[in-house]
Amino acid sequence: MKFIKSEGRCFIIPVCVILCLLLVLPALVFAEEKLGPIEVEKAEVKTGLMIPTYSKYQGKIGEYKVFDRNPRPTWGFMGIGKVYDTYFQAQGFYEDKKDQVYAVDLDWRRSIKGQFGYQRFRHWTEHDPLTLPYPSIDEDEGSNYTFTRTLTNSKLSLTCPHYPNITVNFGYREEGRYGHRQGLSMLGWELLGNKKPLEQTTRDYTTGATLKLGILNFEDTFWYRTFKDEAPGKHEWSEPKFERYQNTFAASAYLPWYTTFYANYTYYNVDSKGFEKVFNRKAEINYHTVQARVTNNAIKNLTLTLAYRYQNVDNDDIHKWYNSTLGSSMTREVNTWSVDAAYRFALIIPTTLKYGFEWESISREDGVLDEVIYPKTQRKTHRLGLTSRIPLFSDKKGKLRIEWKRDDILNPFMNKRNWTFAEEIGEYYPQLTCQPTDSDIVRWRFGVPIISSLELSLDGEWGFQNFRPVRMEESQWKERYAQPSITLTYTPTTNLSTYLSYACLWRRTHTSFAGSVLTTRYVGNDIKYKEEEHSWTVGMNYQMMADLNLSGYFTYIKQNARFDSSKLSGSDLDLLADLGGLSGHDIDTVEFSLDCDYRISRTLSANVKFIYEHFNDDMIYLYDMDGNGYMGLIGLTWKPL
């Protein structure tokens, strides 16, 4: 661990000493007491055989699953109980050397609590063979690119019974990405693909304390993070490496008049070591935020909340490469105010009516826009919602929720580089953005039991987002979408539950297109993006006999996305008119899972599973990723107690 050797030794040793002392102190409190007995609440061991296979390509069907391995044994365990005065819980599952999960919880007299976890899984990534009519070379033809993501997580909290108001916490998290993915680059005008190794490691060290003093609660957390990619063959300019320090102080208070107050202050600093290596100077991000929230319940059935948040992001070491007087887009100051009111009443049915208003102002550092027309982004958001629980049957209630959200945004985020050119030549050219000036989103949820065994649920979201140009000649952007779904749940008997659902997404996006900002003005040509998805799912859970349970589901999804630039045909942008056909998607996927559990005896049970996955894209994008995956699993679980 290079970190400890080089940079961390100065504070790791004192931290370890403090940790040992803190571990010993609570133990001394109980030193005179008798230790308790050994109890096992639950114990099970499982083993099985996994038989995966696939046809064609495995990367899409098994992006996170394993279909490309030989039949292999799996094993798992779970143990819950008490060893003397230590409660423990241990779980683990081993599928393959790249797919494992383990967790251990320890709880010693509620005074020392620890959580330790480890998991790893494989992520399959794209390998584009670069079969283009353009000069291109794939230097690593035929190989598969995957990386393994590992996560180690440990948390320890200590409370001394003599000082129950204070809890001290420690945490360690290590995340790794090890493997390969495809690297793309231009060599001259030739496109080059090669194997890019990944050896990324993120280490997080946290420590904090909580103090409870009557109506007051305080919490402070310090977090130190390091990130580096130690893959061989990396150039110094392509080495992302940084250190990050963060401290968060939070306080809450239960005040008179049914009022609660919460506030926090966070500061962090990110120091890019990778940047320093290339440019021989520091590049740091400094971030400060203060937020406060007051909530009052003094009026019966009414909750009022007032909140304020200030954020300051300082990335002053970075400037735009094309204009060194312009700062980074990250550097900004944000002020956010919000007020929310929720009123619960029950004239006929219990209902909650909610209204919220939020106002946000973002002052950006890349202030070229000061000299044009748009110095700040300002957003006003209104949210109106209604939630109701309708009593229909003695044991079941209908649920209704409708929410409308309205955003009114002045000067949304946009491509400012255009404005730079515009400023240079003293003219205003089209605003280029995919962010709206006004947005309306409606969400609904209506669940109603039609009869006591049949429940209908209608859910969905509808949105209309529009960029309103200020000047007649400016570009336009708008998007409309609808995402309704219907679910029927049928439970004819207590041992059988079935469901059927259909969901779809319909989305249309338009962007008005201009050619070169230096030569062509906005001419009103629209490019349209169409996206449609339809998904059908049917599933069931059937307790056939006291010892036999059967469950399964089948999902079919049709997904289509493409854009249409044919309107550009015949214009001076004719070259772009047929681009839309090159990157479309017309995908069908099927997922089927059947699971059967059978209890052979009081201590032994068997499990059989079958999983099927199918992916097919009729419009081949990049390369043929169609494939079918099959997986059979046979397992035995032994519960000795």
């Binding site: 799996t74 409870k212 809450s252 990250m330």
Partner: protein, 327 residues
């Protein structure tokens, strides 16, 4: 302030006026709350767990069996001391002497029969630290979601309910159920069906494979927009697992430092890498022009497929101003 902007003073004034007006109206009409938010049983005293179990161990054997192995049954005296709360059944259900005498269910607190605010207030007597410091006034709280809509207070530490057959070998291996009514993500799908639909799309985070859960990114107990930011920016939530894009980089791509969700939809998309739209449309929304695009068919094949063929370092670079990788 901008043309259409509100001044901060104006907002404060409006809000203050609304609050003062509401307060005066409420006082006049007698709608002010007079009892503690967490309900109590007037005149009752604490009788201890033995008395409760005397009846309920036989009447509700499953419930009591689960409770005995729950986290609530395991808590130590010193944990409730700072809050002045009695340990055991009566910590949540209120003092039980009157209920024990007559057996009337009206004389004991049933969390399912009080309002969501009252039910949550009972839990908040002890659960005050961490993310729960932010619960009051949070998104879920304002929408009438109470603690018991997601958690079971009698749940045995080992128990968990799964709604469907597993889609991968290890999906059913639920780690740390946190006394949830159902395991994530099925619990969240109960109310957020639109998210369930998106997670079914071809490109998705490995939630349906059981290798991630909603609460890896979301903080259901509070926080801005329920994202796990701990007071930071929305991008910081993404940087938890994708730190390689944190920067700072000498050459930035503006939308990357603004908000990851300008280009990505984290819950699921048709297009690879969680991109909201297929390339090059995604890029053409903000970049209407490109000098190397020519009538050459081979160049069009590259441009029409992916802008990131030539600009692979799209998240930022210390080497190439145009975000292209170099050798």
């Amino acid at each position: 302030m901008g043309k259409n902007g509100l001044s901060i003073k104006g907002v404060i004034l409006c809000v203050s006026l609304i609050l003062v007006f509401s307060f005066i109206c409420a006082c006049k009409s007698g709608v002010m709350r007079s009892k503690p938010l967490a309900p109590t049983i007037p005149g009752a005293s604490y009788v201890g767990d033995e008395t409760c179990l005397g009846c309920h161990e036989d009447a509700n054997p499953d419930l009591m069996g689960a409770y005995k192995h729950s986290i609530h049954a395991a808590i130590a005296d010193f944990e409730t001391t700072p809050y002045g709360v009695q340990k055991g059944c009566e910590a949540c259900h209120g003092p039980g002497s009157i209920h024990a005498e007559g057996g009337d269910p009206a004389n004991i607190i049933n969390l399912k029969k009080v309002t969501p605010d009252e039910a949550s207030a009972i839990c908040l007597k002890c659960h005050k630290s961490g993310a729960l410091m932010e619960w009051q006034g949070s998104e879920h709280s304002l929408n009438g979601v109470s603690c018991i809509d997601c958690h079971k207070i009698h749940q045995a530490r080992s128990a968990i309910q799964r709604a469907k057959a597993p889609s991968s070998a290890w999906e059913r291996e639920v780690v740390r159920p946190h006394a949830l009514i159902k395991a994530e993500p099925d619990l969240c799908y109960k109310c957020h069906k639109e998210i369930q639909t998106r997670l079914n799309y071809t490109s998705h985070h490995p939630v349906r494979e059981g290798k991630m859960v909603c609460s890896d990114c979301h903080e259901p107990h509070g926080g801005p927009r329920l994202i796990k930011t701990e007071g930071r920016t929305i991008n910081d939530a993404c940087f938890t697992c994708h730190p390689q894009y944190q920067g700072p980089f000498a050459y930035e791509h503006d939308p990357v430092v603004e908000d990851c969700t300008i280009c990505h939809e984290p819950h699921g998309t048709v297009v690879n890498n969680l991109l909201k739209k297929t390339e090059p449309f995604l890029c053409l929304q903000c970049h209407h022009t490109h000098s190397p695009i020519s009538s050459d068919e081979s160049v069009k094949q590259v441009v029409g497929k992916k802008c990131s063929y030539c600009h692979p370092e799209i998240h930022g670079s210390n080497a190439a101003p145009h975000l292209g990788a170099r050798f």
